[in-house]
């Protein structure tokens, strides 16, 4: 019989529903088929003109009805689609979820198309003055809603009947993992039996692309898009901006079993540590990322030798992959050379606010399917990074435990430990 309390006496947190959308498709089935066959979702940008842009490729989600309707509506649709899959799989009433909502989503801004259209609907005066005057005459709330940071979660709360004040959060590229961590913590505190954690990001606008580009963060391998994201390779030159969503239904193991739900995995540990070194770079000794990994292991009550696989942050930027290797080799010691460590981002790009949730979803599937998705485009290994990245082809393997890393601008480091079975 499963134990309902963990090594620290807290409720064990199970996953009972998983949903995912990436540039590879909608739903677990399509995504998993593509991911395990080493297929890339990175493609040329068609959503907006690419004149003057250094980077002209992305992993945008271009096949949803809201794909061309701006970041706010697309982020909502991505979140809703993944959450619908997760809640459905969990066998819960999709209009009366009955637990809190934690949403990782990108910061919102007035979309340029709206800005242009408001501005050009009038001729009097100019600049901000004109925008404000036009704004106060609007009769509909649609544009306003896209500028409120809480609106997407508010709509999702209505849609799924979640309880209480929904939390919208950002820890940059670690956001998805933080959303899961908040859900885990709420269940452990006994505040709820279940929580809905979602990471969604549909914010790949021209301005977002340009901003990352100006920080030299993006790959410019435009000619062969599916080859652009190459984590841990010597010629990696930046990440590929992407969109997607991941959703998990988290539930106390006791409550899940009591209602006869299928347990898809266990969320056994969360760890975090902030970095005070620099806004975009990690402390050279990797100590914050190391501390985050160790905190996650300690929270899960597992030793270094009890992690079977690492789902890497693996962005394909020179900085991240080097630092992630340093951190992992510090924590895992000599074993690091023989541990499978792969990056989903080699195929789906960097889904930013969604990444931690998308990759947690894939980590859980890795354990359930006993298949490790590969790191594709690994043709030119970085000799300074000696890792078993599961190069180019999937691998069959029994995976009992996964460490999933998420690191972000602003010194954000969040790590999750997941297990296939309750202890």
């Amino acid at each position: 019989m499963a134990k309902f309390r963990d090594h620290m006496g807290r409720p064990v947190v199970a996953v009972t529903g998983i949903g995912v959308v990436t540039s590879l498709g909608v739903g677990k089935s399509d995504n998993w088929a593509a991911l395990t066959s080493g297929k890339s979702g990175i493609h040329p940008i068609t959503r907006f003109p690419v004149d003057h842009l250094n980077t002209r490729i992305s992993g945008m989600v271009d096949f949803l009805p809201s794909s061309s309707k701006g970041a706010s509506l697309l982020t909502y649709e991505l979140a809703e689609t993944a959450a619908q899959e997760a809640v459905g799989e969990a066998g819960l009433n999709s209009g009366d979820f009955g637990g809190p909502l934690f949403l990782a989503s990108p910061p919102v801004e007035l979309d340029w198309h709206d800005r242009f259209s408001l501005y050009n609907s009038d001729k009097q005066d100019s600049g901000a003055e004109r925008l404000l005057r036009v704004a106060r005459g609007l009769k509909e709330l649609d544009v306003f809603e896209t500028t409120q940071f809480g609106s997407i979660a508010d709509r999702l709360a209505d849609r799924f009947g979640t309880r209480g004040l929904p939390i919208t959060l950002s820890t940059a590229c670690a956001s998805g993992a933080t959303a899961i961590q908040l859900g885990v913590e709420a269940i452990r505190r006994g505040e709820c039996d279940r929580a809905l954690s979602i990471g969604a990001d549909g914010s790949a606008t021209a301005e977002a692309l340009i901003r990352f580009s100006l920080l030299s963060a993006l790959s410019t391998h435009n000619d062969n898009p599916e080859k652009a994201s190459k984590p841990f390779s010597k010629d990696r030159d930046g990440f590929v901006l992407a969109e997607g969503s991941g959703a998990l239904v988290l539930e106390s193991l006791e409550a899940a079993l009591a209602r006869g739900a299928a347990v898809l995995g266990i969320l056994s540990g969360c760890g975090e540590k902030a970095d005070d070194f620099h806004r975009t770079r990690s402390k050279p000794d990797g100590s914050p990322a190391i501390a985050a990994v160790r905190a996650a292991l300690a929270d899960a009550g597992l030793g270094e030798d009890e992690i079977d696989y690492v789902n890497a942050h693996g962005t394909s930027t020179p900085e991240n992959d080097k630092m992630e290797h340093l951190s992992l080799s510090t924590v895992f010691g000599e074993r690091i050379g023989s541990m499978p460590i792969s990056s989903n981002k080699s195929m789906i790009g960097h889904t930013l606010s969604a990444a931690g949730a998308v990759e947690a979803a894939f980590s859980l599937m890795t354990m359930r399917e006993s298949v490790i998705p590969p790191t594709i485009n690994y043709d030119n290994p970085d000799p300074a990074i000696v890792l078993d990245v599961v190069p180019n082809k999937k691998r069959d393997a029994q995976v009992r435990t996964v460490l999933s890393n998420s690191f972000g601008f602003g010194g954000q480091n969040t790590c999750l430990v997941m297990a296939r079975e309750p202890v």
Binding site: G127, S170, R279, G410
Partner: protein, 396 residues
């Protein structure tokens, strides 16, 4: 009955048009008949409560750090520094590296000149997407992105003040502030954390920050009025203000073990999401009030009411319905500070508890006096558009 796992407030960092720090705020707010500091010309027809003069160097020692931020992040980092100083944590390595942090944030300032330039050019161009690429690739300052990112206020606090236990940023207007305080307190109560920095900042002196309200017509226009007297006036009732509020929340025994002064105990915190379009707001506010502050004698309420017509009248009616409650709408004197509104309300409540005195009325026509010592003070933030929260602050 106090318990070792109580959540207590040991540090307060405040900035508003009234000045900076808890003492300055207490002195000004405790003085009857205080007039607000207003800026009515710069953003006419809107009035705002502007930032006071601030010497950023006092909390952000490195010029290089200051240059990496715009005013919003500087303001938050500054207010956070004040709170850490006040709690005796700043510069204390062990306490900073183990300190958790939850920041309530919106977004930072865009480059108004670049935006205006693009908008002006858009009048004569049909290929506006190309125009956008052309201008943004050449005119945006690369580091401005970091000054705009919501989680980079927390990032800067880590860099400047070395708070690195953990760093989480909640978004979503007043609700973000409510959830930040609520989550921080829950983590302390459950033993998940011993000391947490929590708060937010809002810099309203930027056209986009006004636009965030005005796309739904929420801003008050015309001559300034106290927060309770804007119903029926031109515009939507909100007068915004620049400011920041950070609190150091601590487990009681953690605070006691290092011999710190405790301002107040942070009691029950409740939050909600009324579906306002279905008319649920009145009932939601009544429910929150009942949960946060069950009837127990007279009660001082520090209301974060924004002035937004619907939410403000609903809150005022609910508070006025209980004759034991004496309400103070502090937005009359500070303006509405969005994400910082709830932490600010909690801070003002803690100050009253600590000083054993109520604030005088901020608006004699709409508020009633409170005699005696306020042993418990309610803090509220009913969102101008969505989300609601309240907390009860008790004598230490």
């Amino acid at each position: 009955m106090s318990s070792p796992h109580d959540v207590v407030i040991t540090g307060i960092g405040l900035v508003s048009s009234l000045g900076e720090g808890p003492d300055a705020h207490w002195q000004k707010l405790a003085q009857p008949g205080r007039e607000p500091v207003l800026e009515a010309a710069r953003f006419a027809p809107y009035t705002v409560h502007p930032l006071p003069e601030i010497d950023w160097n006092l909390q952000i020692a490195k010029r290089g750090d200051q240059r990496q931020m715009e005013t919003w992040q500087r303001l938050g980092t500054y207010a956070a520094g004040l709170a850490l100083d006040d709690a005796g944590i700043k510069g204390h390595d062990e306490l900073c590296t183990t300190m958790d942090m939850v920041v309530a944030a919106g977004g930072g300032e865009r480059d108004e000149a670049v935006d205006a330039d693009i908008l002006a050019a858009s009048e004569n161009r049909n290929d506006r997407d190309v125009l956008l690429n052309e201008k943004l690739t050449t005119e945006l300052r690369p580091t401005l992105f970091l000054a705009q990112l919501s989680n980079l206020l927390a990032g800067n606090i880590s860099i400047v003040h070395k708070v690195t236990g953990s760093s989480r940023t909640f978004m979503g207007e007043e609700g973000a502030g409510v959830a930040a305080v609520e989550t921080a307190a829950a983590r302390i109560r459950s033993g998940q954390s011993t000391h947490i920095l929590v708060g937010g900042a809002f810099q309203t002196e930027h056209s986009d920050m006004l636009l965030g309200y005005e796309l739904a017509g929420y801003l008050h226009r015309g001559p300034w009025k106290p927060v309770w007297q804007r119903q029926g006036a031109e515009g939507g009732g909100v007068v915004s203000g620049s400011g920041g509020a950070f609190l150091v929340l601590e487990q009681r025994e953690h605070a006691a073990s290092r011999g710190r002064k405790i301002y107040a105990e942070l009691g029950q915190i409740v939050s909600g999401r009324a579906r306002r379009s279905r008319g649920e707001l009145d009932a939601e506010i009544a429910l929150l009030l009942k949960q946060a502050a069950p009837p127990n004698g007279k009660l001082l309420a520090m209301s974060g009411a924004s002035g937004a017509h619907g939410a403000t009248i609903a809150e005022k009616s609910a508070l006025d319905a209980d004759p034991a409650i004496a309400t103070r709408g502090f937005s009359t004197l500070t303006g509405h500070m969005k994400e910082a509104q709830f932490p600010f309300a909690v801070a003002l409540a803690a100050l009253a508890v600590d000083r054993k005195a109520a604030y005088p009325v901020f608006d004699a026509t709409a508020e009633k006096p409170f005699e005696g010592i306020p042993a418990r003070v309610l803090a509220t933030a009913i969102g101008y558009h969505q989300f609601e929260g309240m907390a009860l602050v008790n004598t230490a």
